[in-house]
């Protein structure tokens, strides 16, 4: 068992994704029992990244369905290419074909625009299907999704029922804007990703920004951990840590100081109130992080 888990962990690490036991276990179970994986957690902790890394690790394609309010079947499943259909009809005006021939032609595969869900089930090899931020779509869409996820087939009135040739590996992410239905939860394995611990974050920074100064990396991660303890409106995620690390590394900075932090705080915090609050608490933060401020 440990061998199987180790394999997954190695695959993830090879893709530059620093994992933890719960993530490895969930991916392993989702894969072996072919179940969707529902990933929840705060913004910017690498929920979407899991799907991307999974696709790379399994050496398959990633098909992404970005959910938003008002997402409906025509954007998730399929749509006819109306412009093309009209053009075809126009060009064929003088044609001798019967009406049923014409109809069979314009409602055929050639005129079908495949949207992510249909793409995923007709893909030539089992892909990773990422249904991103499912909580942004409405409940009706969620119920519709349940149907597709359990039967793996889609009915198109003009063509008939299309069944999956290969069942995709599904990853669903949610930011908890809206509570998901119990029915959807019960169809998936659940994974909660929280803000990383200091050690994990440091590993991530080192993996993603390899040429960063060792001391600076540590300081950044300590600083981020301290910032997350503050009661901010928008708590920065790992994505912000990486942005910041990359920026500071590009500026060839090897140590945090007050001036630099003040100048680059906009990379970490995206809310004016939060920035002000952090600036006011900067000395305290530095003390926690253990940075000796040059200006002090």
């Amino acid at each position: 068992m440990r061998k199987a888990l180790k394999e997954i962990e190695n695959m993830l690490t090879a893709q530059g994704y620093i994992s933890e036991p719960s993530i490895v276990m969930s991916i392993h179970l989702a894969k072996t029992l072919s179940r969707p994986l529902l990933v929840e957690g705060p913004a910017g902790v690498g929920k979407t990244e899991i799907a991307k890394v999974m696709a790379k690790a399994l050496d398959t394609d990633l098909i992404r369905l970005q959910c938003y309010e008002g997402l409906d079947a025509s954007q998730a499943l399929y749509e006819w290419n109306y412009q093309r259909q009209l053009l075809y009809l126009k060009m064929d005006e003088q044609g001798s074909g019967s009406l049923s021939d014409k109809e069979a032609t314009i409602f055929s595969d050639r005129f079908l625009l495949k949207r992510p869900l249909l793409q995923a089930i007709t893909h030539h090899k089992s892909p990773v299907l990422l249904i991103d931020e499912v909580d942004r779509a409405d409940e009706e869409f969620e119920s519709f999704l349940l149907e597709v996820l359990s039967d793996w087939q889609i009915s198109i009135p003009e063509i008939g029922t299309i069944s999956a040739t290969h069942i995709p590996q599904v990853v669903i992410t949610s930011n908890r804007v809206r509570e998901l239905s119990e029915a959807l939860r019960r169809r998936c394995f659940y994974l909660w990703i929280d803000y990383p611990t200091f050690d994990k974050e440091l590993q991530i920074v080192r993996a993603k920004v390899p040429d960063i100064d060792a001391k600076l990396g540590e300081q950044i991660c300590k600083f981020m951990a301290a910032v997350r303890q503050m009661k901010l409106d928008k708590v920065p995620g790992v994505a912000e840590t990486l942005d910041w690390a990359m920026a500071l590394s590009a500026l060839h900075i090897d140590q945090l100081d007050k001036k630099i932090v003040e100048e680059t705080l906009g990379i970490v915090l995206k809310d004016w109130q939060d920035i002000r609050q952090t600036q006011n608490a900067l000395s305290d933060l530095f003390e926690q992080v253990g940075v000796t401020s040059k200006l002090a």
Binding site: S22, M25, L29, L33, E179, E182, F189, Y190
Partner: protein, 379 residues
């Protein structure tokens, strides 16, 4: 009760049941999942791996994850004890849960409490809110003008709700957004010449509202105002159901509908015997959950609770019902008359318990505060 099972699979099923009793959404499907997962992953090098594996399969929410490790340990500890002693003693957990059941008030006890001995708690409640805000808002007296303003605002809310546009489309006859799909379908029967365009527009969203208003003693000061609010709302918006509660819950839609306000108030006094009584938010919401929720919390429903959160019932009943309502409703709005004052914090146990399950929390003690609520509902 935890008893010794001789096979691993029987133990796992017993553990699933143990979790189910603790509000984990575990059914037969999950039980078979666990067995499958365990089988797939054997052999296990360390017990932690098995625990991790079961955790991944059985947890469905952050709450589940948080409690899992403790429950897991607790279960196996109980099991060990059961095996070691080989006495069929009742484990602690089951004991406490059965005694909790006994503690839950029977209807008769509730009635006794309601009509007979008014306990000290009730008086305490009354002094609390009256003392803290009486001087600030003299709400009992309403001018004619203010009443009219309430109606106007309620009409605004009703309008805002009725005009909420859905993201979905419906077909219309008059010229609107062009609907390619049905245009093509419709014109194919005429040989493909596009002669009859089809149109579509945004559907209207069907929002229904459930209003639950606290009329216990502690709310006395506001309940008259709030009842007028309820009355106006019920009479200006179609899809709405109103309830009041103090120690138990009463459906009052019929009493409010199509009557003059005076008649309606009179009817209410007759319908609700424990007006200005004690407060049992938890028990009342629980009644709502068992008798009304399955009918009313379907589709797109906003639940509005008007209360100060001053509860004399048990917090876990309140929490359970709030969780249920939160899960079923589109939005849970809690309007608290006391929250208007600057020094107010959700210190009251009832309010604290309910807080995590509320989407919009706002003060509501006068016309001005209601207007602010309208703005938020629109968004």
């Amino acid at each position: 009760m935890i008893t010794r099972q001789t096979t691993l699979s029987a133990n796992l099923v017993a553990f699933c049941r143990f979790l189910r009793e603790r509000n984990y959404g575990i059914g037969v499907r999950e039980e078979s999942d666990v067995l499958l997962a365990i089988e797939q992953l054997a052999p296990y090098d360390t017990p932690e791996l098995m625990q991790q594996c079961m955790k991944s399969v059985l947890c469905r929410s952050p709450r589940d994850l948080l409690q899992f490790d403790d429950l897991y340990k607790q279960y196996w500890r109980e099991l060990d004890r059961a095996i070691n002693s080989k006495i069929k003693e009742e484990p602690e957990i089951t004991k406490s849960s059965s005694s909790a059941k006994k503690k839950a008030p029977s209807i008769q006890a509730l009635k006794n409490w309601l009509y007979g001995n008014k306990t000290e708690e009730t008086t305490e409640v009354a002094t609390y809110s009256a003392g803290s805000v009486l001087s600030k808002h003299e709400l009992a007296a309403f001018s004619e003008e203010e009443l009219r303003e309430i109606y106007r605002i309620v009409k605004l809310i009703a309008q805002a709700l009725a005009n909420r546009k859905s993201r979905r489309y419906t077909s219309v006859k008059h010229a609107a957004q062009f609907d390619m799909r049905s245009t093509l379908r419709r014109n194919m029967r005429r040989g493909g010449e596009i002669l009859h365009p089809a149109y579509r527009k945004r559907k209207k969203q069907d929002v229904s509202v459930v209003l639950i208003c606290d009329v216990s003693k502690s709310m006395d000061l506001y309940s008259r105002f709030l009842i007028r609010f309820l009355y106006a709302f019920q009479n200006s918006y179609k899809k709405i159901n109103s309830f009041v509660f103090s120690t138990s819950l009463y459906a009052i839609k019929k009493d409010l509908l199509d009557k003059s306000i005076d008649d309606a108030l009179q009817r209410l006094m007759d319908t609700v015997p424990d007006w200005s009584g004690g407060t049992r938010i938890g028990a009342s919401l629980d009644t709502f959950c068992t008798h009304y929720a399955h009918k009313m919390l379907v589709g797109n429903t906003i639940v509005v609770i008007l209360s100060d959160g001053w509860d004399t019932g048990e917090a876990d009943v309140l929490e359970r019902s709030m969780r249920h309502i939160h899960r079923k409703a589109t939005q849970v709005v809690w309007l608290n008359p006391l929250a208007g004052s600057a020094e107010w914090t959700p210190e009251v146990l009832g309010m604290k318990t309910a807080m995590p399950y509320i989407d919009v929390f706002a003060p509501a003690f006068d016309v001005e505060s209601l207007r602010a609520v309208v703005e938020r509902l629109r968004g």
